[in-house]
Symmetry: C2
Subunit: 183 residues, 2 copies
């Protein structure tokens, strides 16, 4: 599988037990839309890791999950290793009406994509933490939707035309019915 450029990792902040299904959607969306892995920061929910690992085992490719790292430590490590941080938030620069995605792509650096839940620390919006604050529409909706559209635009659709290596299951796209191949 050709690696997508720039490399991305998603940091999911603020997960609570009742968010289990939404966080699972965040992780699976990150995987399919081209991210290399997910950091579930500050909490220890290992069930997410098991769920996503079993999907990756069946459906191929590589996707790392790291559980419990404090978000500040994750951001500092990322920066030290030469990456930038993009925070997805309804308050940021609009992905459609500004050229923010072009500027991010132009930086040619690997990207930590910060995805919060309801209310994130004020610091997330500051220059010290986030190089870019990016909005997918400046209206409240869903971190899953925001992540999918951000990555789809960053990778310009190439992420949806990849073959996942070592897959046990594979779909043959079809206009009607279901065509699944099991190896």
């Amino acid at each position: 599988m050709m690696p997508l450029v720039p490399q991305t990792v998603v940091l999911r902040w603020g997960h609570r037990p009742r968010d289990f299904r939404v966080t699972t959607h965040v992780a699976l969306t990150a995987r399919v839309f081209g991210a290399n892995g997910l950091i579930l920061s500050d909490v220890e929910d290992y069930e997410i890791k098991t769920t996503v690992a079993s999907i990756t085992k069946d459906w191929g490719g590589e996707f790392s999950i790291e559980i419990g790292k404090p978000w500040r430590e994750a951001v500092q490590e990322w920066r030290r290793s030469g990456g930038i941080v993009v925070h997805l938030t309804m308050y940021g620069e609009n992905v459609e009406t500004s050229n923010v995605v072009e500027r991010i792509r132009g930086s040619s650096k690997k990207i930590l994509v910060l995805v919060g839940s309801q209310k994130v620390p004020r610091e997330f919006y500051s220059k010290e933490i986030s190089d870019f604050n990016v909005s997918i529409g400046n209206q409240p909706h869903s971190e899953v939707a925001a992540l999918a559209v951000f990555l789809d635009r960053l990778y310009q659709g190439r992420e949806l035309d990849r073959t996942f290596e070592k897959a046990r299951l594979r779909v043959v796209p079809t206009p009607h019915g279901k065509h699944l191949i099991e190896n």
Copy 2:
């Protein structure tokens, strides 16, 4: 607010109580990405309606929510009034590697977007129910992500550059910090 063309309504099938947050994300995503409304079929969960109505009241625009209608009835009514049905599924034609979105747009008909949960009735894949089965990547991920990317491509980003009428709250996009206007 200029109406987007073609008109879309989302039908959410298979909602269970534990899906409350995911269904809320589906509804809010439908609203922001240009759909006119949501039908939550076959179940009676009125809390979703209250949650989404309160967002619409604060953030503007119009968005209808219909609760409990049987899915088959909703599909039949939609067809009788001249609309087509698009089912979002990992088994369908790939949005990136086929021209399915162009064909859908070319039909110039209003669209009922069928969004399931884990396992939908086999009929959903048939010609009798779905004119198009569309996949966002032929891998398992999230109906929220699938809906967002499908609508973003259908409306070619125009949906994210709209002013929502009669909004009490409005974001001024900004590279850092939060800028919220309350009327």
